[in-house]
Structure formats: C-alpha cells, structure tokens
C-alpha cells in the first residue's frame, strides 16, 4: 500500500535528506523521490519547493517536462518497450503490437486494474541486442513477438489478472 498523509511526508523528507544524486536541486530531488516512491505526489512538489527555496510552480515546471515522472501511485510492474531507430529496424513494431495485445492496451499507459504500466522508451541503451524491452528495469533483448509475450506473461503473471487473460 502506498504511504499516505504523515507517513508520506516523512518518507518524502527521509528520501530527500539522504539523496546521493549530486547537488540538491529541484531535478535531483524529484528524481530521488521518483526512485523512492515510484511517483510524485502533490505533497512532494510542495516539499521540494520548500527544500530548494523555489515555488510550487517552478517544481511543477520541471516535473512536467521530463517523461520520467508520473503523478499517480505506480502499478506493480513497469514494462518499457524501445522504439528507437535500431529497435524499429529490428522489429520493435511487431513486439510492441504483441505487448499491447497481451496487456489489453491501445497505447502506453496503465492497465485498468493498475497492475502494469507500459511505457515507450526512446533508447534503453542496449541497441546491439535490439529489439529490446525492460521488465521491471531488467533488460531483455533479441526479442521476437512470441518471446516478448512469453517474458511479459512470466513477469506479470497471467493468473488472476483480468486484463491479461
């Protein structure tokens, strides 16, 4: 369960105090919180503004700019499929189609039961093994659509998940 209220505020403050991402800035604080919580709750925006002596508006400006950040509690799993040129040439469109079909989605986003988030990524950094996807930040390369579907089902678990049946 996601932390709420005071617990959430305490978690935010704890994460911000111990962050090891270089100088304390709006961006480094937000990245730290994204790592710690998996999303940026409204409380975090205020806390970061307070910590960095900026306004909520400034913080929101940064948070809304980078596609890393999400503003709702995360799903259990995150799946990223690369659509960069190399992966595209090596068959990413077919992989993507299979992933979308497996998850019952039309485009990137969360499954209705909030179990899986699908993201398109411009480059996962393993181009030599394209097409590539990442399952809960674990890279899988040299994919065929069948292999992608299989690996995806293995991670998110077919059973008891309506959107995956």
């Amino acid at each position: 369960m996601q932390p709420r209220g005071d617990t959430l505020n305490a978690t935010i403050r704890k994460a911000l105090e111990s962050h090891g991402n270089g100088a304390v800035t709006v961006l480094s604080s937000l990245l730290t919180l994204e790592d710690a919580l998996g999303y940026i709750p409204p409380e975090a925006i205020e806390e970061v503004a307070h910590l960095t002596h900026t306004t909520v508006n400034d913080v929101w400006g940064v948070a809304s700019f980078y596609p890393n950040f999400r503003f709702e509690p995360p799903c259990e799993h995150v799946v990223e499929v690369c659509w960069g040129p190399t992966c595209h040439l090596m068959g990413a469109p077919a992989v993507m189609k299979e992933v979308l079909a497996t998850l019952g989605l039309n485009t990137e986003g969360d499954t209705p039961d909030k179990r899986v988030t699908l993201k398109f990524n411009t480059c996962l950094g393993a181009c030599a093994q394209g097409p590539v996807m990442s399952l809960d930040h674990h890279l899988v390369g040299r994919l065929t659509p069948q292999e992608a579907g299989k690996r995806l089902s293995g991670v998110v678990g077919m059973k008891g998940n309506r959107s995956l049946q």
Binding site: G22, F65, N68, G84, N121, T122, A126, C127, Q129, G141
Partner: protein
C-alpha cells in the same frame, strides 16, 4: 627547529617530485599485490554491460557464482563491462591460474555448471565451445583463434577501450595495476598545466561528442577564465539511439573517465567535476558513482591529490529523459535542476557556464583518451589516424549487421572495412541499403557510399557526420521513408519546446512524413518539408532545430525515388509501410 625539520623529512618527502611518486607508488604496490593474489585463483569474467544484460548476462553471472559455490571452488567471479563483441553476449571468459583466458560466446545459464567443472575444476578448457583465447600459458587448441585474430578484433586499435571487458570496473586496484592513474601521477609530479595542455593539443585530439572541436584549444579557453571555482563537465547523456559507447566506457572502465576528468581539471585550473548521466541507465550510473567514491577513498579526488597541492572534487549528476540535455547549455540547465532547455550564446560556457561559473564540457570518449595521452605521450594518439582526424573512432554498429557491437578502429579506415570486414556485413546474404550515422540528426548514407573513410571531414563531405560514432545499418528490407519518419518522430518527441520553429516544425514534418507513409502525400509535400526545415535552421537556438531537417535532406538525396513512389505511385517499394504507427502520444509541445 632541527627536530621539526626532521619531521618534515620523515612524513613529507625531500623533494616535491619524489613525494608525489611515493603516494602513487604505494597505490601501485598495493594494486599489484592484490592483482597477484587474484591471479592465484581461478577467474571468471562475465560481460554485464547493458548489452550483456539484455542478452541475459546477469542470469549467467548468477549461474557461475552458484556453480562455483556448489563445488566449494574459491574462484573470483567478476562482472566486467563490454569487450565490444555484443553479438557473442553473454560472453564469459574463464581462466585457470597461470593459464590463458578462454572466451566462450553466447553462454546460457545451463552451461555454467559444465564449464566450471571442466575448465576450472579439472583445468581442461572446453575447446569445441570456445570462441577465442588470449594470453600466454597453456597450449592453444588447433582452430580456436586468439582474441586479436577474431574478425571483429582485427585492425582495432584500442586506446580508450584498452581495458574494456578486461578489468573489473568495480575494482579501482585492477585499473591501477594495469597502468591506471599513471598519467595523473606524471602530470602532478612533473608537468605544469601548460605542458599538459600542449601535450593534449599536440596529440590532435578532437571532441568525440559530435562537434569535433580540438580539445586542447577548448581547454585553453577555460585556462584563461578566472577562478577559483571552475567546472569540468563530462557529458554522458548519450541519448542517440544506436550509440552506447559512452555508457560502454563508463560500464567497462569508469576510472579512465575519472582520471581524464581530473587531468582536465588540473590543466584548466578547475575545482569541480560533474559526470552527467541519464537517470534510469542504472549500470552506468552505479559504476560512475562507485568510481568517484573509490577515487576519493584513495586520495585521487579531493584535497591534495596524490599529496600535491592540487584539489579537485567530483560528483555524479542525473538528468531525466531528455535528448536535448546532451546539448552543452541545456546540460548546464539540467545540472542546475531546471528544464533542459538550451541557453543563448554568448556568453559561452568558458565564461559563464554551470551556476554562472566558467565551465568546460567534454564527451566521455574524449576524456577517456586523455590518461593514455598524458601517460605515454601524444604520439600514442597522433600516430594513429589521418592528417586532420587523429586517433581512433569508437563505433557502435547496430541494426542489420552480422556482428553488432562496439569497436575502436583507426580513423581513416573505410566504412566498408569496418562494416563488411570487421562486422561481417548484412546477415542472410542481404545487401546493406543505408547507414544512419551520428545520431538521429546526423544523416543517412546510401549503401553505395561505403568507400568513405572514417574521418570527421570526409564524412561531412559525404553528407553524414561521424558524430558520436553510432552507425545504424539497414538492409534491403528497410523502407527509407519509414525510417525517416521514425527519426523525425524521435526528433519531434525530443524537441524541448523552447524555440517554436523547432517545436512546431518538427511536429509539422512528422505529420507530413506520416501522411506520405500512408500514401496520402501530395506533390507539394517535399518542397513543404524543405521550407519548414529552412525555418527551423534559421530560428532555433541549438542543433536540435538547426539540424532538424538533416534526416530528411540526406534521405531525399539517396532515396528520392522511394519518396516519389510513396507520393506518386502510392506504394512502398520495400513493402514496409502499412499505416500503423505505435509511437508515443506524449511530446513536450
């Protein structure tokens, strides 16, 4: 008074010169002793850079650890970086104490137990499974080649990648034992910053990030800027799809970058260094953070480095997903924690950079060369390459190619030699149709242009750029229009939105290209693209908008007929375009 002087002698050193060497010498002794201890035990090295991970390297590493544990075998299992042979990942090399290193390619976790039993317990390499062998020691079996004789390795000259795949990137001692930080020691113990600058200038090193500006000259700009706070920024943003050599260096040999950065700091009188990486690439981020931490631990960073009067601090800074963050002024904005949008220039970074302080930005590859140049002299670099492009090119070959991977070849080698020779050409007997070089904004080269040499100027004359060294290869099954559309979708997605000609122009161009791919293009579309491109070039602050028309222009130059077929005959000659696009719905519009 005499006693006090005695203490100085005892704890300090008689002269400036030998005091320095002492600090380094003790590090070197410590490292060599550790290395010898390591050599007395069986060793397993497994490639677990991003390319290795995507091929399953982490599972293989676990399997080898488990196999050694099951036999109570005291073996050292190291997760090394990328040797460049990405086609053979997961790549494992096993070494019996005192024996040669035997490389096994495409290893599955199930094979771990058998390989450990045969090679490391019984001392009998499994030759029929071996890809290559390296080092002297046991006799080499008949048809197994040495590492250097592999097609992919033949003709490579490894300067920046000298340690990649060979040393444990998490072990600073292994770096020192193989000659690491000798360049820093040499500079601090007997060279003035001017001498280091002249040496780097004499090597002919030009920036490897894309602009190919002479590094020595760039450093001189910063030398002239007032201190005391000045920054050396190391750009490892590397958002170019198809390029992973910066990440590869960080994952394989992070200390060569840290050393290069300290040397840049010493030369320019800078006080701080920042390594700038994209959040989410966990391997390179962790390696960089660990390398900085270890360098502090050994007195290679911080106050009085190696006992000298030079002080330099470094940290790792993360940025969100943003391609434009690789642009030098946008990078500085991101380090300051803002949206990564480019600044107006002038003032240039050497005068007004990050936090308003004088700054210098170098690419990872550029800095990775510096330690070798300073340790061994400029000819180690200038002795390789062509008249105007010295040294080596670090290429990432991906796409329709038999042996995808990372290689370091001398400048002047032709594309044909690199692609057909080292990398084995297109698989399945197909022909190479086009090359996409230098990132999405670089350019497309036709498959008949392979006699172009790898050289900054020759590549530019051919209408492409060498850029950061990423080369995406496409065979006959690729539609040039479809690829252009994908490149433009990428550019549109990554436009930061600051300059409206780029923001709206990219979107416009993408829409036109989508229309062409849906066979709804009209004869006016090609001139329209050209006009939009001209406006973007005239009205954008940074290269993203200025070069935004490049992918289309270069594709039109070589594959104009294909565009015409889509527009006039309403057909896709390669049979690729079907009107289905699954690309992000988001953009920073």
């Amino acid at each position: 008074m005499i006693l006090w002087r005695g203490r100085e002698w005892l704890f300090g050193a008689p002269t400036f010169f030998s005091r320095m060497t002492q600090a380094y010498e003790s590090l070197k002794q410590q490292a060599t002793a550790r290395q010898q201890a390591l050599a007395g035990k069986p060793r397993v090295r497994i490639g677990t850079a991003l390319c290795g991970q995507a091929a399953g390297g982490l599972e293989v590493a676990d399997a080898f650890r488990e196999a050694a544990r099951a036999r109570s075998l005291d073996a050292t299992v190291s997760q090394v970086g990328c040797l460049g042979l990405c086609y053979a990942e997961p790549l494992v090399d096993l070494q019996w104490p005192g024996g040669p290193r035997v490389f096994y390619g495409n290893v599955s976790p199930e094979e771990a137990s058998g390989l450990v039993e045969a090679h490391l317990v019984r001392g009998q390499p499994v030759w029929e499974r071996a890809l290559a062998v390296s080092g002297d020691g046991a006799t080499v079996s008949g048809d197994v080649l040495t590492l250097e004789a592999l097609e992919m390795m033949k003709g490579q000259v490894r300067i920046a990648l000298r340690n990649a795949g060979h040393i444990d990137p998490a072990d600073v001692h292994e770096y020192i034992a193989t000659g690491g930080y000798a360049g820093l020691d040499r500079a601090l113990s007997g060279m003035t910053p001017q001498q280091v600058q002249e040496m780097v200038g004499a090597s002919g090193l030009r920036g490897r990030g894309g602009a190919a500006f002479p590094t020595g000259t760039k450093w001189r700009f910063l030398m002239g800027s007032p201190g005391p706070v000045k920054y050396i920024l190391c750009n490892c943003e590397e958002g170019d799809p198809g390029a992973f050599n910066d990440k590869g260096i960080l994952e394989s040999d992070p200390h060569t970058l840290v050393e290069g950065m300290i040397l840049a700091g010493y030369t320019t009188g800078a006080s701080n260094g920042v390594i700038f990486i994209r959040h989410g690439h966990e391997g390179p981020v962790e390696r960089a953070k660990a390398a900085v931490r270890d360098a502090y631990g050994l007195g290679l960073l911080g106050k009085n480095i190696l006992g000298s009067s030079f002080t330099f601090n470094a940290e790792v800074s993360l940025v969100g997903e943003s391609y434009v963050a690789g642009e030098e002024t946008a990078l500085m904005e991101a380090i300051e924690g803002k949206r990564s949008m480019p600044r107006f220039r002038p003032p240039f970074p050497a005068a007004y950079g990050v936090w308003g302080k004088p700054s210098n930005i170098n690419n990872v590859k550029t800095l990775a060369y510096v330690p070798e140049i300073v340790a061994k002299g400029p000819t180690v670099f200038s002795g390789v390459g062509t008249e105007r492009s010295k040294g080596t090119a670090i290429l990432c070959l991906t796409g329709a190619i038999r042996r995808p991977g990372m290689m370091e070849v001398p400048m002047g080698m032709t594309l044909h030699q690199a692609l057909e020779g080292l990398a084995g050409g297109a698989p399945g007997g197909k022909k190479i149709k086009l090359l996409q070089t230098g990132g999405p904004l670089g350019g497309v080269l036709g498959g008949d242009q392979l006699d172009v040499p790898l050289d900054f100027d020759a590549m530019a004359r051919a209408g492409a750029i060498l850029g950061s060294g990423g080369i995406i290869v496409a065979d006959e099954t690729t539609c040039a229009v479809d690829l252009t559309r994908v490149l433009m979708t990428f550019c549109q997605f990554e436009s930061c939105g600051k300059c409206f000609p780029c923001r709206t122009g990219m979107t416009h161009m993408m829409e036109v290209l989508e229309r062409i791919c849906r066979f709804q293009g009209e004869s006016i579309d090609l001139p329209l693209l050209e006009r939009v491109g001209a406006s973007m070039a005239a009205g954008s602050l940074c290269g993203h908008g200025q070069l935004g028309f490049n992918p289309v222009r270069s594709a039109l130059r070589f594959f104009g007929d294909e565009f015409k077929a889509h527009i006039e005959s309403k057909r896709c000659p390669a049979g690729v375009c079907n009107g289905e696009y699954l690309t992000p719905q988001r953009a920073r519009r």
